[in-house]
């Protein structure tokens, strides 16, 4: 069996190329599960914004890599109750960028205050939609191969 075809190296799956089965969506936004749950692995947690970020941080510490930015959307943590991220499913060597990004997102939480009581259902629906559209834009990139 030759190791090349027409002089080319065999196709190698590089680290940045992830497949549908390689990643999970971690979220506290029920709309993400509703819209994407049939086609993607969605792990939905019924927790607040800070808790979901801490949960993501714990996963980063255990070797899962972030595939999207946790401060997506210029919607500040504390100004939105929902956050969704894409992460690798399997564990990888420690990824410093993931650690820095999630730590910075948790620290940014302290600058803002989100009080769920202040928002009516219409506003909460807007928050869910915005978070979903942000993760959807990442899925378009992730699923483009």
């Amino acid at each position: 069996m030759p190791d090349s075809l027409f002089g080319c190296r065999p196709f190698i799956v590089v680290k940045e190329v992830v497949r549908l089965e390689d990643y999970v969506i971690v979220t506290n936004n029920p709309l993400v599960e509703e819209r994407e749950g049939k086609t993607h692995t969605v792990e939905l947690y019924d927790v607040g914004i800070e808790e979901i970020l801490r949960l993501i941080r714990d996963r980063v510490h255990s070797g899962q890599r972030l595939l999207t930015h946790p401060l997506s959307g210029s919607v500040k943590p504390g100004e939105t109750p929902y956050k969704s991220v894409l992460m690798t499913r399997g564990k990888e060597p420690f990824d410093l960028m993931s650690v820095e990004l999630i730590q910075s997102a948790i620290e940014a939480c302290g600058k803002f205050s989100f009080k769920r009581d202040e928002y009516d259902e219409r506003a909460m629906r807007d928050f869910r939609i915005i978070d979903w559209t942000l993760i959807k834009s990442a899925l378009e990139s992730a699923d483009s191969f």
Partner: protein, 426 residues
């Protein structure tokens, strides 16, 4: 490439049965404009109002601000790839109506849209309070998704601005300015001793309701690319961005980007303004790496000496900003970055979500968490329904006397990151 900009100064706007511009005054037929806007079946109604500088008027929630323009000579039309054919713009002759704007408003994403006060302390924080604003409040049909509503309002604003701009086509401009740039080779020969400088312009591109369009292409899908500086000036970049009122770039800001203007002013005097590079701010981390690699690569290939980088937004874009800065500096090219800050109400917190030692030349557009009290104004165009819910407001926002205690991030353009703002240390 050579672009002649003709400026027609508008001194007032009045509703009338006939649309025309006479002696600097714009007369607008709301019937004609309404018919144009309601061509879109996603919109069921639109109302128009006029807000003049100094009037006791608050406009909210603001979506976009657009300067009416018309292409008089040369290739292309206004807003190419969107409402005109996709021909390359940036040459020939274009007229702009100065002193006025079309402002689109509507409850698209209640918590993320902005405020323009036409008087009082709020007016001091937004450049758009200095314009005579023709405001369109667009009502969608029932059961519409927010991104469909955004698109309908976005296109309605461009159509209205193009309709008004067209009224100026046969007029003689009050003022004319010519902008001319050379090709890469010509520029090198003409200005061999001047530092070679480019502008890296980061465009909001995080998904639906956070979009920017370049010749009608969603910037999320572009690879970093080069524009002639006059292309942006001629309407090649438009906003589809609904979020972050204080530091988003409305279409008006793209049309009048001060970084582009100032670099062109210095072109041939203190610098050689080589080109305008546009890049994106995607959510997906591999996209960030690809785009920042490509931006740095283009800067290197152009043998630049210096680069100005501006971002749009906070958080996610901070990472792109620092990646661009680090990688361009690593190529031996000096960078200056322009950003705003979210440093907390007391200004003591970390300003950006990312940082690096390479970012040692930073221009700030101000602290978006700064608190300001906006007095009650006599008239509201739009609705105050969302005023306690938009980013930078709180349950204490609406005070007993009707005044609003808010962070300046609620004000459209307050900390604009291309410097189209009124805040200054001077």
């Amino acid at each position: 490439m050579k672009l002649e900009m003709g400026y027609i100064h508008i001194s007032d706007i009045e509703f009338s049965s006939e649309s025309k511009i006479e002696n600097g005054k714009l007369y607008v037929s709301t019937d004609a404009l309404k018919a144009l806007v309601l061509e879109d079946e996603k919109l069921k109604d639109v109302s128009f109002d006029i807000a003049r500088p100094g009037e006791s008027v608050r406009i909210t929630p603001v979506k976009d601000v657009i300067e009416p323009r018309v292409k008089v000579e040369g290739k292309g039309g206004v807003f190419p790839g969107i409402i005109s054919k996709v021909d390359t713009v940036g040459s020939g002759k274009t007229y702009a109506l100065k002193g006025m704007a079309v402002v689109t408003a509507g409850k698209i994403v209640g918590f993320q849209e902005g405020v323009i006060d036409m008087t009082g302390p709020g007016a001091d924080y937004t450049p758009f309070s200095k314009l005579i604003n023709l405001v369109m409040v667009c009502e969608p049909v029932d059961e519409i998704e927010p991104h469909e509503y955004e698109k309908a309002v976005r296109i309605a604003g461009f159509k209205a601005a193009a309709y008004i701009g067209e009224l100026a086509k046969s007029l003689t401009p009050d003022e004319t300015k010519v902008y001319e740039t050379e090709t890469i080779k010509e520029g090198m020969a003409k200005y061999p001793d001047l530092p070679r400088v480019a502008y890296v312009h980061m465009l909001q591109s995080q998904g639906l309701l956070h979009d920017t369009y370049v010749y009608g292409v969603d910037a999320k899908q572009i690879l970093p690319t080069m524009l002639n500086p006059t292309e942006c000036m001629d309407g090649a970049i438009v906003s589809g961005n609904c979020v972050s009122a204080c530091d988003k770039n409305p279409t008006y800001v793209h049309q009048n980007n001060p970084v582009v203007h100032d670099l062109l002013e210095e072109h041939g005097k203190t610098i050689n303004f080589v080109c305008h590079i546009v890049t994106n701010e995607n959510v997906y981390l591999a996209d960030k790496q690809r785009s920042s690699d490509w931006t740095a690569k283009l800067c290197k290939m152009l043998d630049l000496d210096g680069v100005i980088v501006s971002q749009e937004g906070f958080g996610n874009p901070d990472t792109d900003l620092i990646m661009n800065c680090k990688k361009i500096e690593a190529e031996g090219i000096k960078t200056v970055i322009i950003t705003d800050e979210y440093a907390g109400r007391d200004g003591k917190s970390q300003s950006l979500a990312d940082a690096d030692a390479a970012a040692d030349a930073v221009v700030t557009a101000g602290n978006a968490n700064q608190v300001v009290v906006l007095p009650k104004l006599d008239k509201v165009i739009g609705t105050l329904d969302y005023i306690t819910k938009i980013a930078g407001a709180s349950e204490n926002t609406l005070r007993e006397d009707g005044s609003l205690e808010v962070e300046i991030q609620v004000i459209t353009g307050a900390t604009n990151e291309v410097g189209f703002t009124t805040l200054s240390a001077r």
